[in-house]
């Protein structure tokens, strides 16, 4: 089997979320799909993929590591390598009539914990979104931290963060869990104060509590608090994860599916396993990426949760379902496994076409 063609396109949901979907065709009629980030200029992302991915034509998609090595040597971007990896595994799964988690040695579990990523908003809006996501089957929520300007970062800020989370748990119920997504905005010192304030709340973890600083600086939050911390959405290489693990600085690895693909995250997970550290792949895009993450989490021994962006807008959810043939609905906080071959989706080309961003 050989790769015969590659077709990237930028997709936009009605609510504004954008991502790039890539279809990889083979000479045997099997196609694989993958997804990466659109960034601020989706057409630039598509153009880059159109420049780099034709190198795939003629390659054997069953050899995902070989394909990745060839792309790496050609100087291809991480996004291109990531989509090539996911699409190759999708193709291999379809060709062998196995789900991707089975190709990867799984499943290790019969369901995958779900994390609904909420957008920013006032306390009232967050509360509404938590309840909406809860109605859709979610029991865990990633809540964005709202950072005030410098002068306001006093005691009121720290107590306010705790009060917001307390109110969300009151609304959602004791059985619900939360990630505090700091987005890398606090300084390490501020992050330690937040972490300290959140002890006893039992956050699942604080995500990106500070920016991409040295491993030593990033590890300082973990060393000063019992609140678990997650890092890695921007890490390009697994060596960065290894450095942070060496520093005892991370409790949850957050490799981004859009820049790592599946094989690289699997390798990061192997490193993390020996430190007794969990993996929660980072994903803020569309349903194809979410499905890839669920496939991966189903195969890893140390995955904890797969996040997906949650939109309270029904129209967004309908578009995602139309594209993927999958409603992304968890049951009591867990995604059922996608057991069909490949990524387990039935991607609708017409739906993709209908929501492609015009040039």
């Amino acid at each position: 089997m050989k790769i015969a063609g590659v077709a990237p396109r930028a997709i936009a949901e009605p609510g504004g979320r954008r991502y790039v979907v890539v279809r990889v065709d083979t000479d045997e009629g099997v196609s694989g799909y993958a997804e990466t980030e659109a960034g601020p200029a989706p057409q630039l992302a598509v153009d880059q993929l159109k420049r780099e991915l034709p190198a795939l034509v003629g390659m054997n998609p069953a050899r995902a590591v070989r394909v990745d090595e060839d792309l790496r040597r050609s100087g291809a971007s991480l996004a291109s390598r990531a989509v090539a990896n996911v699409a190759c595994l999708d193709i291999l799964g379809k060709a062998t009539k196995a789900s991707v988690y089975e190709i990867l040695g799984g499943p290790t579990r019969h369901k995958v914990r779900a994390l609904a990523v909420l957008g920013p908003g006032s306390d009232a809006e967050l509360r509404e979104n938590v309840l909406a996501a809860r109605r859709e089957g979610h029991r865990a929520f990633s809540v964005p931290l709202t950072m005030p300007s410098g002068m306001e970062r006093g005691r009121r800020f720290y107590t306010g963060v705790r009060a917001t989370l307390d109110s969300l748990r009151d609304a959602a119920g004791e059985e619900c869990d939360f990630v505090l997504d700091c987005g890398g905005r606090p300084s390490p010192g501020e992050a330690r104060s937040i972490a300290d304030r959140m002890e006893g709340f039992h956050l699942l973890w604080m995500d990106e509590p500070c920016g991409e600083l040295s491993a030593f600086a990033q590890a300082s939050i973990s060393k000063g608090s019992a609140t678990p911390v997650g890092y890695g959405r921007g890490f390009a290489e697994n060596a960065r994860f290894q450095d942070l693990l060496r520093e005892d600085g991370v409790d949850v690895l957050r490799p981004a599916l859009a820049i790592h693909g599946l094989t690289s995250v699997r390798k990061a997970a192997a490193i993390a396993e020996t430190y007794y550290v969990a993996v929660a792949p980072f994903h803020r895009g569309g349903p194809i990426g979410a499905a890839a993450g669920i496939q991966l989490c189903a195969a890893l021994p140390n995955s904890f949760v797969q996040e997906t962006p949650f939109s309270a807008r029904l129209a967004d959810r309908q578009v995602r379902a139309a594209i993927s043939g999958w409603d992304e609905k968890p049951v009591d906080g867990f995604f059922p496994l996608l057991g069909r071959p490949g990524l387990g989706l039935d991607v609708d080309e017409r739906a993709l076409e209908a929501h492609t961003v015009a040039r």
């Binding site: 069953a62 050899r63 995902a64 090595e69 062998t96 040695g105 579990r109 390798k267 430190y275």
Partner: protein
């Protein structure tokens, strides 16, 4: 299984019976005689396409094998008729490894063999007492067999399920520096004759040892002898052939470091096990003070056992053994961990052919793969004939310096059970050499 069935299994059961007896006794202590299978099984929405119905072990004893390592093969059977083969050979502990395989079979009996990671985790974590070579070898044998089944069911060689191969020529390998002339021939002549054959067969790398046994501080004469041997080896082999040197943990850091420093100009491929493996800091003392690439890993169990070496950048090359480290699953993970730290992989293989072939599948998919060992000489001998009898082809003989990769699904091999029956298990024997120093104190083999 109730108590009556348990008794029947103990009295009349075949190879798998002891496993059920062990498992039932454990679960009985929990107040549930057969619930362990249900507890481990994943609650999948649909029935698996096949289930494990049997686990068998085969011990193979032969005069052509080192006395300490009768081969231990594992056969996993399924209700679909697909079988998988693995290897759990453990030097000096053959019977223990076989029994451990049966002890662990509770983890896969009746289960979906495709879920290899789940079963690996169960065998390792539910064992409670993690790690150790007996457990590691037993897991390795079962894990390899499950990967063999996975490949056969999916119709793909294992190396393809791992994303490879990265090199169409196969897997680069090295032989051991075994004499090809009569043993009394001078060392220089032996090496010259080996080089001649290497050039003829396209072999590009060899490994040798250092002579004799060493105390923790040793004499000028012994250290000089080792260095001179290696200098002769490089001189006669020339620059086109890579040379690995296995100190076999016979040396202390103090002795190893003196030798390493004085052979740096030889640009050896690696020095292996310059001291015993338990003390990572001692190993680092050597690697910090020499430019000779330091390798170790054949005695390390699971990826957990390799973490400290990688984390501390203690070695340049890791050499886990697919028959001990935890099979294909664990060898792949060690490779992934090593890759992030720029550590190369040169897996050890000094047991039987099933594990050796399994190792090549992982090698083929590791970007940081360097070279694959096989404990054979450049000229085939009785062991090679035995392996051809067992597998039907000359397994682990290089072509142009590379082990050809099997192309059939799974591990790509078939083990002839009639051939196995011709070499029945003759019991466990101690390690191949039990050396002592001239004063009678124990030396490291």
């Amino acid at each position: 299984m109730n108590r009556r069935d348990l008794l029947k299994a103990s009295l009349f059961g075949a190879a798998a019976a002891p496993a059920f007896a062990q498992g039932a006794r454990q679960s009985s202590a929990l107040g549930c005689e057969d619930c362990f299978v249900k507890e481990i099984a994943l609650a999948m929405p649909s029935a698996p396409r096949l289930r494990v119905t049997g686990v068998k072990t085969f011990g193979v004893t032969s005069d052509v094998l080192p006395r300490d390592r009768p081969h231990v093969f594992v056969k996993v059977e399924t209700d679909a008729g697909v079988v998988g083969w693995g290897e759990a050979t453990l030097e000096g502990k053959a019977a223990a490894a076989m029994q451990a395989v049966h002890d662990l079979s509770y983890a896969i009996m009746g289960q979906d063999p495709m879920q290899v990671e789940h079963h690996w985790q169960s065998m390792y974590i539910h064992a409670f007492y993690r790690s150790g070579p007996v457990l590691g070898s037993a897991i390795s044998g079962i894990d390899q067999a499950l990967w063999d089944i996975r490949g056969k069911v999916l119709g793909r060689p294992v190396h393809e399920l791992l994303g490879g191969p990265l090199d169409d020529r196969g897997v680069r390998g090295y032989y051991h520096l075994r004499p090809v002339l009569p043993r009394e021939a001078p060392y220089r002549e032996q090496v010259a004759a080996i080089r001649e054959r290497a050039e003829k067969f396209g072999v590009t790398a060899f490994k040798t040892g250092i002579p004799g046994y060493y105390e923790w501080i040793d004499t000028h004469a012994r250290i000089k002898e080792a260095i001179e041997r290696l200098c002769i080896l490089r001189e006669v082999m020339g620059d086109q052939i890579d040379i690995g040197v296995d100190f076999h943990a016979k040396t202390s850091p103090a002795v190893a470091l003196q030798i390493c420093r004085e052979v740096e100009d030889l640009n050896l491929m690696f020095v292996e096990e310059p001291c015993p493996p338990e003390n990572v800091k001692a190993m680092k003392r050597i690697s910090d003070r020499t430019t000779v690439p330091i390798a170790t890993g054949e005695r390390l169990i699971t990826h957990y056992g390799c973490r400290e070496l990688i984390e501390g950048k203690v070695v340049d090359i890791l050499q886990p053994d697919v028959n001990h480290v935890g099979g294909i699953s664990a060898l792949w993970k060690v490779g992934a961990m090593a890759e992030a730290s720029g550590v190369m992989m040169a897996p050890h293989a000094c047991e039987g052919p099933v594990g050796a072939v399994a190792s090549t599948h992982v090698d083929a998919a590791m970007p940081n793969f360097l070279v694959q060992e096989i404990c054979s000489g450049v000229e085939p001998d009785g062991k090679d004939k035995l392996w051809e009898e067992l597998l039907g082809y000359p397994a682990m003989r290089m072509v142009g310096g590379y082990y050809p990769l099997p192309t059939k699904p799974g591990l790509g091999i078939e083990v002839d059970e009639r051939a196995l029956a011709r070499h029945p298990f003759g019991g466990t024997k101690p390690f191949v050499s039990l050396p002592v120093h001239e004063d009678g104190s124990i030396a490291s083999p």
